[in-house]
Structures are given as structure tokens and as C-alpha cells.
């Protein structure tokens, strides 16, 4: 019967995992190109706001408005991340400070615009978010079918597809090789004729696209509207997933599953005998606590891009 609960948990866990995986993949592009992106949280907020707003405004007019919402989230994330790129690449800002500023800015801008558009501090509620689907045929496979193909949000498949795409781009294309070189030793990369500034722009803007998409996915699957608390630290958990997944797309996938399940656990704890006596707050704390433990686990094994976080100075040796 406990196994039955685990099976039931799958759709919820995958729902939470999808935005974490997407956003962490975004962080992977940014950090591999040499720019630390602590603004992922803010990028998710902007994406979530855009996604919810477009869905609310269009759902009475066009079919499948939520999918346009996802697209809007992606674009909003790209636009917002331009700020991080300009500040940290062109104007040589400290990347952590710039990211922090963007996180504060995201809270301000999204609620400000909510007030302008909806005259309240949140967006209106949408009635049709992304719907769960069952893949015909595949959902009849014993166990696996129930885990991955029954009543699953299609956004999870988008996440899986982008994991594969990221792996291919980062490890199998010249573009990926050049980008990684900029994250390891930008001066050496530049000496080989690679345009470091361009590569870093690419990394940051892709992180904006994926993070914005992640935010829109989160609000359109797990929420009914955008509020200031819609993202509640998921961007930071994505950042931790990147470390936990050792800057590797498949590692990120695994870490995303891990955090997806730890979030889902709070919903199902009351049905599991030895967990039902614990207070609800314990389960709210769990994902964050596990993040710290996960970081501790991989501490000291520095496998991240070497030049990530460094201001690019072309004169440095």
C-alpha cells in the first residue's frame, strides 16, 4: 500500500520536477559560459507572471491559451535576462550582486504590473492551465505506465526533451565546446578566436529562456494565478540542483526528480503511516533542508566551470 502511494505521488512529483529541471538547465547554460546566474528565481517570477497574464487575457479568446502563456514566459525570461547580461558582461558588475538586484526587481516589477493591469497585487485566476494528459498505449504498461504516462503534465516531457537537447548542444556541437571554453578559461578561448562576450550573452539569454519557461510551467501547472509567493525559492532550488547535478544535464534531471519528490512528499505525508504524525511545517522545510544536505554531500569536489562568476578581463593572463 505504501508502494501504491509512491505511484500516486508520481504525477505530482513530476509536476514539481519539471520547472526545477527546466530552470536548472538554464543555469547550466549560463554557468557553463562563465556567468553565475543567481537571478534564476527572479527570471522564474517574471516568466510566471507573463505566463499567467497571457493565459488570463487570452483564454476566453483563443483555444490553448496556456501554451501561448508558456511561450510568453519564455520570451519574458529572455528579455529580463538581458539586464543580467548587460550588467555582468558589458558593465562588469559583480554577478552575484547583479543577480540579487534582479531578484528584488522581479518582485517589484511583477506586482507593479499586476496592479496596473489587474488592479490588485496578483494576477487574476485563470481557469484553464496546462492540462494533465495520459499517453494512450504507453499508460497501459505495468508500473512504468502509471509512473510516467498516466495523468502526467505534458510539461514534464518538454523538460525531458530539453535535457536531451541541452546534452547534445553542450557536448556534441562546436557551439557547446566554445561556450564551455568560455566558462573554463575565457582568455584562452579568446586567444583561439572565440568571441567570449557573444558566448556569454548566448549562455545568459538561454538561461533566461529556460528560466522564464520554468516559471510559466510552474504557475500554469501548480497554481491558479501569479502571486508574489508563486515561485517561493524554486529558482534557488534549481540553482542547488545544478550543483547537485554537477553541471551536467542528466545530473540535473536526477536532482530535479529528487526535489520534485521531496516537494510532493508534503502532499502525501498524511497517508503514510510513520510520517502522518509530523507537523505540516516539517514537510515545508524538507526540500530546503535536503538541498543543504545535498550540497554538503558534494562539497569540496569542485567540478563547476572554473571561470564561472569571474568578471571577464581580456587583458588578464
Amino acid at each position: 500500500m505504501t508502494f501504491e502511494i509512491v505511484l500516486q505521488m508520481f504525477p505530482i512529483a513530476l509536476m514539481f520536477a519539471a520547472p526545477i529541471i527546466l530552470t536548472a538547465l538554464g543555469g547550466l547554460f549560463s554557468e557553463r559560459s562563465g556567468v553565475v546566474n543567481i537571478a534564476l528565481e527572479g527570471i522564474m517570477m517574471v516568466g510566471a507572471f507573463a505566463g499567467a497574464t497571457v493565459t488570463v487575457v487570452l483564454e476566453t479568446k483563443v483555444p490553448a491559451a496556456a501554451w501561448l502563456g508558456l511561450l510568453a514566459g519564455l520570451l519574458a525570461g529572455v528579455i529580463f535576462s538581458v539586464l543580467h547580461a548587460v550588467a555582468s558582461i558589458n558593465l562588469k558588475a559583480d554577478q552575484v550582486i547583479s543577480g540579487t538586484a534582479l531578484n528584488i526587481l522581479a518582485g517589484g516589477v511583477t506586482v507593479y504590473l499586476s496592479q496596473i493591469i489587474f488592479h490588485q497585487q496578483r494576477t487574476l485566476a485563470f481557469s484553464n492551465g496546462i492540462r494533465q494528459i495520459s499517453v494512450p498505449g504507453l499508460n497501459k504498461i505495468p508500473i512504468i505506465g502509471r509512473m510516467f504516462f498516466d495523468q502526467v503534465y505534458p510539461t514534464f516531457y518538454i523538460a525531458i526533451f530539453l535535457v536531451l537537447l541541452t546534452w547534445f548542444v553542450v557536448y556534441k556541437t562546436p557551439l557547446g565546446l566554445r561556450m564551455r571554453a568560455c566558462g573554463e578559461h575565457p582568455q584562452a578561448a579568446a586567444s583561439m578566436g572565440i568571441n567570449v562576450v557573444k558566448m556569454r550573452y548566448f549562455g545568459v539569454l538561454v538561461s533566461g529562456a529556460f528560466g522564464g519557461l520554468g516559471g510559466a510551467v510552474m504557475v500554469l501547472t501548480a497554481d491558479i494565478q501569479y502571486t508574489l509567493a508563486s515561485i517561493h525559492g524554486t529558482g534557488f532550488i534549481a540553482l542547488a540542483s545544478l550543483v547537485f547535478g554537477r553541471w551536467n544535464p542528466f545530473g540535473v534531471l536526477g536532482a530535479g526528480f529528487f526535489f520534485g519528490f521531496s516537494s510532493a512528499l508534503s502532499f502525501y505525508a498524511k497517508d503514510i503511516k510513520f510520517l502522518s504524525d509530523l507537523p505540516a511545517e516539517f514537510f515545508y522545510i524538507l526540500p530546503y533542508l535536503l538541498t543543504i544536505i545535498a550540497l554538503l554531500f558534494f562539497a569540496g569536489k569542485s567540478v563547476g566551470p572554473k571561470a564561472s562568476g569571474e568578471i571577464y578581463d581580456s587583458g588578464k593572463r
Partner: protein, 357 residues
């Protein structure tokens, strides 16, 4: 000194542009800000209302402390985003002492504040320890500790301290409060209280530790160059833990000042209140110096106090956050701004050597 001022100016310019672009009037925004600082209502020609001054100081107190917190860790080269959580743990500790200890005011109140300081210091020491011992990056850990503190606070209020309405605890006894009838009466019954005294003491302690003690010197040495400090025989790990603990102590005190000053009960907190991020902005604009932090704290405190006034003028209150974030962004771009300024200056005054750029 000039760069933070330019950043502040640019922040306000950008904020005004956004207000104009969204069809609102920047004049009423600045009128609201002036009223938030001084109580002068320039649009209606009202004289000074001291109540606003009291409320503005109330807003400035906690963020000066969280600013000191961020700056203290920064001086040791640590980027701590943990002030928010340390503040909450400070207020959890303060609430316990305020509710469950009975003593005359001159013992009870200091005990409450000391508990807040200790709570914050403990919460700060944990990421410090993880950084020093296992080299876990403090940024992500402190952020996670903020969320843990938030839910821990709510757990303590709801399940340990007890709450009849599931929102707040029973009111504290008067002996635990920073309340001052005198200060209230001279500010037309604002919430102004004695909290500003520990805030000033904290700023002095910050300046003293950092600038005047060997301990402060060795903390700064670790901040400048960890390996060099280690080579010079300084205890780098110990310094990192202590620096984070002291940073936590400042933030914890902020929790105490809020809990027994602004409020007189422990509260369930639905989501982060932003004192931590405000503190980062305050510290960056204040150049991580005690005096600068006090001034920057007053600037952003006034901006916060003006928020409800802006809202009543039809300007969304979040513009304050937008202005604050853009100021931080401009401060972060200081190298870039400096480059632009230098270029500008060279164009203004061409030297005899001629500039070949």
C-alpha cells in the same frame, strides 16, 4: 562616495520613467516620498506631521541592522543572503523570552534583545561552519536557511508558543517591550520606540570591531585574500564562522527590535518580508561602512514608509522596490559607470597629449 549618489539618482530617474510610462504622475510619487520622510504634505500645503517621521524611523531601524549584517559578512569576503532567516530566528528567541520570562523591565527587555542576538548568531554560525569546514557555498545555504527559518517560526508560533487565532501569540507583558509613551507622544502616536538606541549601538559596534580591533583587521584580511591571511597565521576557518555569527547577531537584533518594538506579539509569517534583501541594498549603497549604512537605511526606510502614501495616490507601492533594485543594479555596475564617466571626462577636457582612443 560619488558613485553611490549617482546610483541613487539614476534609480530615481528610472523609477520616474516607469511611473510615466505606466501613465501615472511622478510628481505625486515624489510628493508621497517627501511626506514619507518628513510629514510635509506639499500637495495640500499641510504643515509637518511628526507621526510620519516616527513611522519612517520605525521602517529604517530593522533594515539598518540587516544592512550591518550583510556588510559585516561581506567585509570577510562572504556573500550572506541569510539576514532574513537570522532575523526570524532572532524573533523566535525574543518571543520565547518575552512570553515565558517574568522580570522587571530593566532585566526583561535586555534579556529579550540578548536572546534575539543569540538566536540570530546561532543561525548565522551554521552556514559559517558549513563554509569553513566543508567549503559549501554560503549563498545557496543561507537562502535555504531563510525558508527553513520561516517555516520553523510558524511551527513555533502555532505549536509551541500557542496562538488562539493562528496568526499571533498572546500579547507580551509591558516589561518586555521597547515601547515609549514619551516618544509616541512627540510623534503624534506613531509606533516610534526605544529601538533606535540598540540600532545606534550596533552601528557603533560595527565600526569599532571592523576598524579598531585586531580581530576586525584579521577579518578584513580574510576578506581581501584568504590564502595570504592563512599564510600570515590567521585562523581563517574561525574567522569565517565568527564573522557569519556576528553578522547573524545584527540580523537577530533586528528580529528583536521588530518583535518587541514594532509589534508586541509573535507572528505567523506567510512569506518572506524582504528585510534581508533590503539589508543587501542598504549595505551596497552604504559602501559597507557603518555611517553609510545608517544613511542608506534611512533612505530606503523612508521609501518604505512612503509606500502606502504612493498607493493612495494611485501609484502601485511596488515602485519603491523597483527603485531600490535599480539602485542596487547601478551600484553593482560601478566599474561600468566609472568607465563611462572617465570617457566623458576625457572628452570634456582633452589633454595636451591628445587622446588616442
Amino acid at each position: 562616495m560619488v558613485l553611490p549618489l549617482i546610483s541613487v539618482l539614476l534609480g530615481f530617474v528610472l523609477g520616474s520613467l516607469i511611473v510615466i510610462l505606466t501613465g501615472r504622475s511622478p510628481v505625486s510619487m515624489f510628493a508621497a516620498i517627501l511626506k514619507g520622510f518628513s510629514g510635509i504634505d506639499i500637495l495640500n500645503g499641510q504643515p509637518i506631521n511628526t507621526r510620519y517621521i516616527g513611522e519612517f524611523i520605525i521602517q529604517a531601524m530593522p533594515i539598518i541592522l540587516t544592512g550591518l549584517s550583510f556588510a559585516f559578512a561581506m567585509r570577510t569576503g562572504l556573500f550572506s543572503i541569510g539576514a532574513e532567516g537570522q532575523l526570524m530566528v532572532g524573533s523566535i528567541a525574543a518571543t520565547a523570552v518575552a512570553l515565558f520570562v517574568q522580570a522587571p523591565r530593566f532585566i526583561h527587555l535586555p534579556l529579550v534583545l540578548l536572546a534575539a542576538i543569540a538566536g540570530g548568531a546561532l543561525w548565522g554560525a551554521i552556514p559559517g561552519f558549513l563554509k569553513a569546514r566543508y567549503n559549501v557555498h554560503e549563498v545557496v545555504v543561507t537562502i535555504m536557511m531563510n525558508y527553513i527559518a520561516l517555516h520553523f517560526n510558524n511551527f513555533m508560533i502555532l505549536h509551541v508558543y500557542g496562538s488562539a487565532d493562528h496568526i499571533k501569540t498572546a500579547p507580551f507583558p509591558d516589561t518586555a517591550l521597547l515601547k515609549s509613551q514619551f516618544l509616541e507622544s512627540i510623534t503624534r502616536y506613531s509606533r516610534l520606540n526605544w529601538g533606535f538606541i540598540p540600532v545606534i549601538l550596533a552601528a557603533i559596534a560595527f565600526a569599532f570591531i571592523i576598524n579598531k580591533t585586531t580581530f576586525g583587521y584579521s577579518l578584513r584580511a580574510v576578506g581581501y585574500n584568504k590564502e595570504a591571511a592563512r599564510y600570515a597565521g590567521m585562523k581563517v576557518s574561525r574567522n569565517i564562522i565568527l564573522s557569519m555569527a556576528i553578522a547573524g547577531a545584527f540580523a537577530g537584533l533586528a528580529g528583536g527590535v521588530i518583535t518587541v518594538g514594532t509589534f508586541n506579539f509573535g507572528r505567523v509569517i506567510p512569506s518572506a518580508e524582504g528585510y534581508g534583501f533590503d539589508g543587501i541594498a542598504v549595505a551596497l549603497v552604504g559602501s559597507n561602512q557603518a555611517l553609510g549604512i545608517v544613511l542608506a537605511g534611512m533612505l530606503f526606510g523612508g521609501l518604505k514608509a512612503a509606500q502606502p502614501l504612493m498607493q493612495s495616490q494611485g501609484i502601485p507601492r511596488e515602485i519603491a522596490g523597483i527603485i531600490q533594485a535599480s539602485i542596487v543594479l547601478f551600484v553593482a555596475m560601478k566599474y561600468g559607470i566609472k568607465m563611462i564617466l572617465d570617457k566623458f571626462e576625457r572628452k570634456q577636457a582633452p589633454t595636451t597629449e591628445g587622446d588616442r582612443v
